[in-house]
């Protein structure tokens, strides 16, 4: 398995891709998933984060097989 990462909307456009895969590891959190994938790019402000399709904050643990998502404020409805 691994950790599957999704980017949506303007964040995906800015990053230039819609997904990433990261090997699982000890003590990973939403924040460290980002920093491993984007070591030179701080997480932009206002970005929302989800683990397995539920909103979770940056300190939420991330485990093997999890789906992590980063996206801008939602604008539906």
């Amino acid at each position: 398995m691994a950790i599957h990462v999704n980017y949506f909307a303007s964040l995906r456009d800015r990053l230039g891709r819609s997904e990433d895969t990261l090997p699982a590891g000890e003590g990973l959190t939403v924040a460290t998933v980002w920093s491993r994938l984007w070591p030179d790019r701080p997480l932009p402000p206002m970005i929302l984060t989800a683990v397995n399709q539920e909103y979770r904050n940056l300190n939420h643990p991330v485990e093997d097989g999890d789906e992590v998502a980063f996206f801008p404020p939602v604008t539906g409805g």
Binding site: N6, F8, A9, S10, D13, A50, Q53, E54, Y55, A69, F71, P72, P73, V74, T75, G76, G77
Partner: protein, 159 residues
């Protein structure tokens, strides 16, 4: 067209549908209500909200719009929003439909309909679902302006 139906205690039901193609909210409402044969004579109140695409946003003329969503999470969030609203008020049935894909001015974006015995619950739950959907459901709008320029909508209006 992806559709989820949930049947839960205590008898409250809901249907949540993400529509990739244009839909007619009044027609959808009429068809859905006709299917609610078990509720005939039980609902005294139906509150409905329809959101449609405007041709102007922040002072610019808008030619078209693309609605993106996070498949799976969208349905899960909508279900939670509806369930949470239903826990505070007694309602009989909820229908939520939301467009994704390319839309043009006047196209319906969202339909929220709530059936209940009395009006307060219908109004409150309908509005709570609309507000929850606007702040939590993972949809994003990208506008194409009349000069062809594209921009992401940054933020929903309060309200």
């Amino acid at each position: 067209m992806k559709s989820l139906s949930f049947h839960r205690s205590p008898g409250v039901e809901m249907k949540i549908e993400i529509c990739a193609a244009p839909f007619d909210p009044m027609q959808a409402l009429a068809t859905y209500q006709e299917s609610l044969t078990g509720l005939r004579g039980r609902y005294g109140a139906t509150a409905v909200f329809i959101g449609a695409m405007r041709d102007v946003n922040e002072g610019n003329s808008v030619q078209s719009m693309t609605l993106e969503h996070y498949p799976g999470m969208t349905e899960q969030q909508l279900q939670q929003i509806v369930t949470s609203a239903e826990q505070r008020w007694e309602v009989l049935e909820v229908l939520v439909m939301h467009r994704v894909g390319t839309l043009y001015p006047n196209d319906p974006i969202v339909l929220v309909a709530v059936w209940s015995a009395h009006r307060a619950a219908a109004f409150e739950v309908c509005r709570a679902i609309v507000e929850g959907l606007k702040s939590q459901a993972p949809f994003w709008k990208k506008e194409t302006l009349s000069d062809g320029a594209q921009r992401w909508v940054e933020k929903n209006t309060a309200g």
